[in-house]
């Protein structure tokens, strides 16, 4: 079965023999009967796989398979649909009553109750547990007691959470937040079984959840075998027998394995291979929008870049970037030139507005030169674009971006890339406010709301406001938008806030990133969700 697929690539008897042995160990194919197991590329999760401790895609991939929360973002539309939630009601946008559905179980047999949620959230919020997503619970009353800014926690549980009965609990927020229920699809809000608290080490070795898959074996740093869980209660039961996740450190290697038929699905095709991907894979090449935007952030804390007068230079630089040619030549159209600060996956009614940035995000060499000159020129006549060199083939596009700027400014050395060896070092330089020029930033949404594309990054002192941008007008508009009960009115306010960014240009929007991936012809119905993670449970494994 698998051998037949590979025969296309493989010539010679040696290969056939090797393939045959590989098949023997692979756990069998299956004939589209829902029993076939597929292999998929993975990256070693950075943190232990606790729901409130996982903040990157690779760990999120697993959580998405083994957990279901109150809400789930529809993989196609991105809308937050009820999953375990029977209903989430509120009269005042501050006090919510959550009722969960009957009959759900964890894969170890424990029932999913209101307590499972409350315990999980209390665990996630408590500072003693070092959960990196603790701030997600920051809207719940009592957060500052379990997670003080300094010192020890003065309470063990969130006072805003009350269990009413097995299937009901209430949540009191510390402010009005009309779209709060829609954030509940984030994995940090998943319920946890008692086993998690009783045998924590054991749970980490082999996580137990309530999703369509259960973990069969987990070799840290190397592989995880997930199998379909028969007792799963939800509507989205797995259509395949399971998924074998395999860790790759280099996405070029994963792509090579995919080509050789050694891997069924890769959800990260490196830029260098994009040119071949269509020819190699045909219609098994996925290229679809995802909720990711790439930007160039200015260090607004640096007087050289942050002063009001420099706004013209920042705008000028934005207009010196030939986004169209770069996305075509470097990214083979897996990126789309950005013209606002959100993402097309939000759709127009969700707040995405193409062209909101206007000509400030278009390639206008003459005007760019003029603006930069009017603003007093580049500080010291130079600009360095800092990026981390360890992942994500950033070098190619940074070089291209600089070449574009240099061409406009007619100076070969005006703009240079500045690679930083490791992501860790890169993040440190950012947090320590050591950046001397613009640096790359990528934002992947947590939930498909326009709020998530603006507030965390541009609100004064927000968690991802790396450039330390601050504008009272922007803050005011965001506050107003959050208090708005009508969704459309809220979106309008957010877009007004976005217009402030056009003027200030603290962050240059570069392009919207697509999710890209490829799969072998054993698979069908493969697609990515808005987080560019494959929707594993929908995949069919054929012969």
């Amino acid at each position: 079965m698998r051998g037949a697929t590979r025969a296309k690539w493989a010539v010679g008897t040696v290969a056939v023999a090797l393939v045959a042995t590989a098949c023997g160990g692979g756990g069998g194919g299956g004939g589209g009967d829902g029993k076939g197991v597929l292999s998929s590329s993975w990256g070693d999760p950075q943190n232990p796989l606790e729901p409130a401790n996982t903040n990157e895609v690779q760990g999120g991939k697993v959580l998405d398979m083994i957990f279901r929360g109150l809400k789930r973002y529809d993989p196609k539309t991105g809308a937050a649909e009820d999953m375990l939630a029977q209903k989430i009601e509120s009269k005042d946008q501050q006090n919510y009553t959550v009722t969960i559905k009957k009959g759900w179980k964890f894969s170890n047999g424990e029932p999913v109750t209101a307590q499972s949620f409350v315990d999980a959230w209390n665990y996630g919020a408590l500072i003693d547990n070092n959960q990196k997503n603790a701030y997600f619970f920051g809207y719940i009353e009592g957060y500052e007691k379990v997670h003080p800014e300094s010192g020890k926690a003065s309470a063990r549980t969130l006072s805003g959470l009350q269990v009413k009965d097995d299937r009901t609990f209430t949540v009191k927020l510390n402010q009005k937040f009309s779209t709060w229920p829609q954030t509940l699809g984030y994995p940090a809000f998943a319920p946890l079984p008692r086993a998690f608290f009783k045998d924590h080490d054991g749970w980490l070795k082999k996580p137990v959840g309530n999703g369509p898959y259960k973990v069969e074996s987990y070799t840290k740093g190397s592989a995880m075998k997930l199998r379909k869980w028969g007792g799963y209660k939800g509507p989205d039961k797995a259509r395949n027998g399971g998924v074998d996740l395999r860790v790759y450190t280099d996405n070029n290697t994963a792509y090579t394995d995919l080509q050789a038929g050694n891997l069924d699905l890769s959800d990260d095709i490196p830029a260098a291979q994009l040119k071949n991907a269509e020819a190699d894979l045909g219609d098994r090449y996925i290229n679809q929008p995802a909720g990711i935007i790439q930007t160039l952030t200015f260090p607004m804390y640096d007087p050289q870049w942050g002063s009001e007068k420099m706004a013209k230079v920042r705008q000028g630089l934005s207009m010196a970037i030939d986004r169209k040619t770069i996305t075509r030549q470097i990214f083979q159209n897996t990126r789309t030139p950005a013209s606002d600060w959100t993402s097309p996956v939000l759709k127009a009614d969700g707040g995405y507005k193409s062209g909101l940035c206007g000509k400030a995000c278009e390639y206008k060499p003459a005007e760019a030169r003029k603006l930069i000159k009017e603003g007093g020129g580049l500080p010291g006549g130079k600009v360095t674009v800092t990026y981390n060199a360890d992942t994500g083939s950033h070098k190619d596009w940074v070089d291209a971006l600089c070449n574009s700027v240099n061409k406009v400014l007619k100076n070969d050395k005006a703009c240079v890339g500045n690679p930083v060896g490791t992501f860790a070092d890169y993040r440190n330089q950012i947090t320590a406010k050591k950046m001397k020029g613009p640096f790359r930033a990528g934002w992947q949404m947590d939930y498909p709301l326009i709020q998530n594309f603006l507030q965390p990054m541009y609100y004064t002192d927000a968690s991802s406001n790396d450039g330390k941008y601050s504008n009272k007008e922007f803050d005011k508009l965001v506050d107003e938008a959050n208090a708005e009960t009508d969704r459309q009115a809220a979106v309008k306010k957010f877009q007004d806030a976005e217009r402030v960014l056009v003027k200030d240009m603290p962050v240059i929007p570069l392009w919207y990133q697509n999710g890209s991936g490829g799969y072998t012809d054993r698979l069908s119905d493969v697609r990515l969700n808005q987080f560019s993670v494959p929707v594993y449970d929908r995949i069919k494994v054929g012969s």
Binding site: W9, P45, A223, T253, T256, A260, R427
Partner: protein, 307 residues
């Protein structure tokens, strides 16, 4: 001899301390790992402070180092950031890399010494020139280039081998990565063998052996080769350590989950327990390899004695 070995073993202690401290210092110099744990988001200060406290990152360097060494002597190499004990990581990674290194060394010895002997005995002839050209081409290509090229040609285009190595890392899967890893050192081994063979071929003891009427085969194997292999053995000995730790690029390209892979991840995440632990073991391996090389010296060259 016994005293010599004991002295060398004792000398390992300062080296061990020196290199662990150096590595510790280097990882420390890379900076604070906590920020990266939070991804593209600014760390929550309270949680970050607690993690720093638990990892002792708020302590001065020497205190961290002492604490770490104390742990090591209790057999505890610390815990990687993903919650796995480093000893467990070593248990899975070292056997894989050891196999890879063995494959590479065997290739080096078989191919390198053979080519070296052949070209050394036929200096200046066509064979010698072609071996020279071959080693040059090989040495001038960076590992990541030869790795990608061979992987693509053999693994994808012609489909002769599997392009990557499975988690179990069987010996046959390691053949191609072993060749790639061996390539650069292969040139050294070949050239060293050739040079030292050519040099010794004119030595008087060889001339004498020939004059005595010994068969050519015996002269080459017993007298010539034995003496000519000394620099080669030195080189291979020093190479073991660098092969084991230097397989970072090869392991990355072929997705081998060995020492280089773990080190790479550890470095990128600035995870000092992983990096320091692995390098410590690598240093030990290296020290023992050196000791063995020095003892082999004496076996190969009877003129050298250790007291």
């Amino acid at each position: 001899m016994g005293r010599y070995v004991i002295r060398r073993l004792l000398q390992m202690i300062p080296v061990f301390i020196g290199s662990t401290f150096l590595i510790f210092f280097m990882v420390y110099a890379l900076g604070d790992p906590v920020a990266a744990m939070f991804g593209d988001r600014a760390p929550d200060p309270a949680t970050a402070a607690r993690i720093r406290e638990e990892l002792l990152l708020d302590q001065p360097l020497w205190k961290q180092y002492l604490h770490y060494m104390g742990q090591i002597f209790r057999g505890d190499f610390g815990t990687a950031f993903n919650g796995q004990p480093v000893t467990e990581l070593m248990g899975t990674a070292f056997p894989v890399t050891l196999r890879l290194t063995l494959v590479a060394i065997v290739i080096e010895i078989i191919v390198g010494v053979t080519l070296g002997v052949l070209s050394g005995l036929r200096r200046g002839r066509a064979l010698d020139t072609s071996v020279l050209v071959f080693t040059l081409v090989v040495v001038s290509i960076p590992t990541f280039v030869s790795g990608y090229v061979l992987q693509f040609l053999l693994g994808v285009k012609w489909g002769w081998v599997k392009p990557t190595v499975s988690t179990d890392a069987y010996l046959d899967e390691l053949l191609l990565p072993g060749v790639v890893l061996a390539l650069v050192s292969l040139a050294y081994v070949t050239r060293l063998t050739r040079t030292s063979l050519a040099e010794n071929a004119r030595a008087d003891y060889v001339r004498t052996a020939v004059a005595k009427g010994l068969p050519r085969r015996r002269v080459v194997t017993r007298h010539l080769l034995r003496n000519s292999l000394i620099p080669v053995v030195t080189f291979i000995g020093t190479d073991i350590g660098s092969l084991m730790g230097g397989a970072i690029v090869t392991e990355r390209i072929f997705n081998i989950h060995g020492v280089g892979f773990q080190l790479y991840q550890g470095i990128l995440r600035q995870n000092s327990p992983t990096v320091v632990g692995f390098v410590t073991v690598l240093v030990l391996v290296f020290l023992f390899a050196n000791l063995v090389v020095d003892l082999l010296y004496a076996v190969l060259d009877p003129r050298i004695r250790y007291a």
